[in-house]
């Protein structure tokens, strides 16, 4: 695979800044009482969503995770509808059902949704790959999930079927070493989730999840393989969760030192350094950051101005709209 272009890397930088700004905005909105929600921060894991999506076409299908804000933005979702969800406004992606974990769908962006019961995404993403094949198109189905979720039985059922049927599918495991409070080694019998792939005859790769280029390379290769009809790949990105499982998590299970150490490997800083090494001036990044900050403020103002849904909203969207009589 050709390495990422400067343009791609700049875009990644932009999305990362956007994601961080959005998270910060949400934390502020929680603090000032405008938003009531449970946020699962993705801080520290921004290289994954961005790296994955840089390797995808718009129409490739993404089943994102509960820690998926960066993933949504990287796949093309605008902050506006996400803010609308966080604030429970009709301008939200779910038209006011609101969200701590946004369940956005946008077919034009290949955003397929997210399963709240972890592990649901394994069978769904395999199925979407099967569906694409049935329709005769060459979309690839991608699922991003945590290492803890990989212990659900659905992993096994979907991995076997995907390998058996050579489905156009890429799985990306964000191994941040924790599922809520439980350390990876206390929940999983082997160190590398990637090593589970061999049991299905599925290729796998381990990458540095803090390094967007490493993620991109592995995903681009896997996507090419999938699109060529050569079947699924499991990629494990070793990453770090900077914050609590959810905002408010006391994190009694890890030390301040551990947290501080984790935060040393900031994917945003790493991208900035890469760009600098490529000779891209720091003020270009500053400009991007400023643009994004301004856009975010505008999006927040807009979202806050959007109407809240009426009580009827809870009954809408259960079923397909009735066909009008012929």
């Amino acid at each position: 695979m050709p390495p990422m272009t400067d343009e791609q890397l700049l875009h990644v930088y932009r999305i990362m800044e956007r994601a961080i700004l959005l998270e910060q905005a949400v934390l502020r909105l929680i603090e000032d009482g405008s938003a009531r929600l449970l946020l699962h921060s993705g801080r520290g894991q921004e290289a994954i969503g961005t790296g994955v999506c840089a390797a995808l076409r718009d129409d490739d299908m993404l089943f994102y995770s509960h820690r998926g804000l960066t993933q949504l933005l990287a796949k093309g979702m605008a902050p506006g509808p996400l803010l609308g969800d966080f604030l429970g406004r009709t301008s939200g992606a779910t038209r006011g059902l609101g969200a701590g974990i946004v369940h956005a769908v946008d077919h034009s962006l290949g955003l397929m949704g997210s399963s709240g019961t972890l592990g649901g995404g394994f069978v769904l993403s395999a199925g979407a790959a099967l569906g694409a094949r049935r329709l005769g198109d060459d979309r690839v189905s991608v699922h991003i999930f945590g290492e803890g979720s990989a212990n659900r039985g659905t992993f096994h059922e979907a991995a076997n079927a995907a390998a058996l049927w050579k489905l156009p599918m890429v799985w990306l495991c964000e191994n941040n070493g924790l599922s809520v409070s439980v350390a990876h080694r206390d929940a999983t019998s082997i160190e590398d989730v990637a090593d589970r792939a061999g049991a299905y005859g599925m290729p796998s790769r381990i990458v540095d999840g803090q390094d967007v280029e490493a993620v991109y390379d592995a995903v681009a290769e896997a996507v090419a393989r999938a699109r060529a009809g050569d079947g699924p790949t499991l990629i494990e990105a070793k990453t770090l969760r900077f914050r609590g499982h959810y905002e408010g998590d006391p994190q009694t299970y890890r030390s301040k030192e551990d947290i501080a150490a984790a935060q040393q490997r900031d994917p945003v800083r790493i991208v900035a350094e890469k760009l600098a090494a490529r000779g891209i001036a720091g003020d270009r990044l500053g400009a991007i950051r400023n643009e994004e900050a301004a856009a975010m403020e505008a999006a927040i103002t807009q979202a806050l101005a959007a109407p809240k849904p009426g009580p009827e909203r809870i009954h809408e969207g259960l079923l397909a709209p009735r066909e009008t009589a012929a």
Binding site: M61, G92, A93, T94, R95, L97, H103, A104, V105, M112, G113, S115, G116, T117, G120, F122, V123, L124, S125, A126, G127, A128, A129, L130, G131, A132, R133, R134, L135, R139, S141, G153, T154, H156, E157, A158, N160, A161, L164, E316, G317, L318, L319, A320
Partner: protein, 330 residues
């Protein structure tokens, strides 16, 4: 529509699959032994040969993948028809049915369709025991995004399966194992039966009898006997539980003032409780006697077929209960 032909319930289902596979290239069929073998109940016999192994194929023993994979394929734009070998295995894929298929549209804002059909053979027959004989429709009363269809005749089997495949919402399609060999008239040519419209099998002014699936036939047979004894039953087959055609039932209860509900599966926690609550809520004054549940014994289905026969009410039991109801509260 020209005339009628006679088909078994199994053949009617198979015809529906063939017609929809022919009509819509997005449709595909998968399940355990559903490929070349034709399914353990023979519904998909010959289909792999006709449509190829990429349209009709076997799956591993992976029920979560069968249903969840079906949901995923539907999200991608295909129209999967997946088969659970026994309806009991819905319990293995319960998260996929209740939390994925039924909720995906709602929880993602309302715009995302899940055009999936889950075929699942249910019911008490053949000594299959407690884990292969359940009737489970009652588990899905509150799975609001999901439709639940339960055809009782070959014509309905065909027409409802075709409607289910064309529906943009997920449909749990519960076939009754005892009915597969049952033969009956099916209209020639294109035949669609809308989901969620009750079918009134017989008119009568004395007792409203609501009966699902195989028990509709049992109730209808009881009604013949009862007519001889001067009790006129109105037999209504709701054809499923979602959408639920309560109006047809209420209209009947308005005339009869008496309601009997008949189904397979245990009384307690079965289909009848919810229906009775709905009717009582709306027609308390119209009722002349307490509604009656005529359903399975409150226990599990043994493999011993002599004992198995005790599980579900037969024509005599249904007739006796309806007779008592007809006389009650006079």
């Amino acid at each position: 529509m020209s005339g009628m032909k006679t088909l078994s319930y199994r053949a009617a289902l198979r015809e529906a699959l063939i017609e929809e596979l022919e009509r819509d290239p997005r449709v595909f069929v998968m399940g355990q032994d559903a490929g070349p073998f034709g399914g353990v109940f023979g519904v998909t016999k010959g289909l792999t040969e006709m449509f190829g192994a990429d349209r009709v194929f076997d799956t591993p023993i992976s029920e979560a993948l069968i249903v969840g994979g079906g949901v995923g394929a539907a999200l991608a734009g295909a129209r999967p028809v997946v088969e659970l070998q026994y309806a009991d295995f819905a319990l293995i894929a319960m998260d996929e049915i209740v939390n994925k298929a039924a909720k995906w549209r709602y929880m993602h804002g309302g715009g995302q369709s899940v055009p999936l059909v889950i075929r699942a053979p249910e019911g008490v027959v053949g000594g299959l025991g407690p884990e292969h004989s359940q009737s489970l429709a009652q588990y899905f009363w509150s799975s609001f995004g999901l439709k639940v269809a339960m055809p009782a005749t070959p014509a309905d089997a065909k027409g409802m399966l075709k409607s289910a495949i064309r529906d943009d919402d997920p449909v749990l399609f519960l076939e009754n194992k005892s009915l597969y060999n049952r033969r009956g008239p099916v209209p020639e040519g294109e035949h669609l039966v809308p989901l969620g419209v009750a079918s009134t099998w017989r008119r009568g002014g004395d007792v409203t009898v609501v009966a699902w699936s195989r028990m509709a036939t049992v109730a209808a047979q009881a009604a013949e006997t009862l007519a001889g004894a001067g009790i006129e039953c109105e037999i209504i087959d709701p054809r499923g539980i979602s959408p639920f055609d309560l109006d047809t039932i209420l209209e009947s209860v308005d005339r009869t003032g008496r309601l009997a509900v008949v189904h397979e599966g245990p009384v307690t926690g079965g289909l009848a409780g919810e229906l009775i609550a709905q009717v009582v809520e709306r027609r308390f004054a119209a009722l002349k006697a307490a509604p009656v549940r005529i359903a399975g014994a409150d226990t599990y289905v043994p493999q011993n077929q002599d004992l198995e026969g005790l599980l579900t009410p037969d024509i005599e039991a249904v007739s006796a209960a309806i007779t008592a109801l007809a006389q009650a509260g006079r």
